[in-house]
Symmetry: C2
Amino acid sequence: EEEIPEDHPRYEDLLTRHRIERGVEKGITHLQGMHAEGRGSAFDYLLGEETIPSAVEAERAAAAHLLLADHPVLSINGNVAALVPAEMVELADVVDADLEVNLFNRTPERLEAIADHLREHGAEDVKGLEADARIPRLDHQRAKVDADGIYDADVVVVPLEDGDRAEALAEMGKTEIVIDLNPLSRSPQVAEVPIVDNIIRAVPNITEHARDLADASGEELEAIVKEFDRKRALEAAEERIRSGL
Amino acid sequence: EEEIPEDHPRYEDLLTRHRIERGVEKGITHLQGMHAEGRGSAFDYLLGEETIPSAVEAERAAAAHLLLADHPVLSINGNVAALVPAEMVELADVVDADLEVNLFNRTPERLEAIADHLREHGAEDVKGLEADARIPRLDHQRAKVDADGIYDADVVVVPLEDGDRAEALAEMGKTEIVIDLNPLSRSPQVAEVPIVDNIIRAVPNITEHARDLADASGEELEAIVKEFDRKRALEAAEERIRSGL
């Protein structure tokens, strides 16, 4: 990672690919995660590989939701762990959220590898290993969550999430913040706050907004949440992908 | 592969991912190939996962070029070998072309694994193992080709090719046929015949056109070649990706 010069025009793309490749090698990321990341990179390319204004608003709304939450939880899958481990630990710290490992292709080995990886990046408590509760309407393996984690959360950040699970979580009444580069995929479509941005940019941005809003009143935070227009954000991203090519 | 029902709405996408995953497992496909395939799949999604009319014309022009060629060569990398081994062998057979293994991340193990894989799918002669000639203006490893293969070819099919090599081959004066799902990437931009289509559809289509044109006269083939407008084909693909979202 140190070998990639920061001023390289493809720095973020190279960094992303490098981290995912290392994730596959370390047993953190499923091979299909490499495919998903490639798919995302095409949308990022079409977006211009930058955080568009509507994503800035979404990231600020996400920060406000997290600060208002009683029990915010950040969900971590194999790609998230590979791409932004330290960044997720930092966000959890700033908004006082739990971190919960949540895998589409769930094996005990990958759960442990990801929990270890997060701990190496500063996480103290990692949830998702108990799996003593179930999300309704999902098949057994995909439904597993911690009773005192995602199951109990009022606000969840689910980056790069499978559509079925995003939908099931929304149906549980949770305030869902989704990070996904394809504005038309199901997860951002069902999210209260869809963030159409590269996770490598999005997570540090949310953290920065949360720091910025640390002293804001509940009313100010509520105003930011209320002002955010999810439909407009999705449309703006779609429009950018169309016209930005 | 037999487990994927052919009438599944995502049949081609599932088949592609399955084949690439097997390719990585077999040591044929580099891990970055999984990423490249994911990137391609996003563009295919935007194209509507179908062969658009301008691609049909490009595929017909490619068939005409191959039939007119003195020495056509089909270049095979790790993704091509994983995705369309039998289809490339069949095309080579129909247009009397050579098959040459040509790797971006070149190792003796992968070269052998790919040659074996092609032989398992019916290839008799596989070039690319001698590497006794060089493409000018490329660094040592990337420049390696066979003297009686790509180096000598007048028409080359280079699917999913790296931009530098596509450019260097074009500068050698070869008629280049590129298959790539991103119309703006450098390889299709420098190709005489850019085919913006999924390789899984494109290769059998070229073969079908070649069979259809088997008895065509040189003049008829020349007319097809001349009529094909590469710039219009690239624009049509770009337009489709923009509006198809």
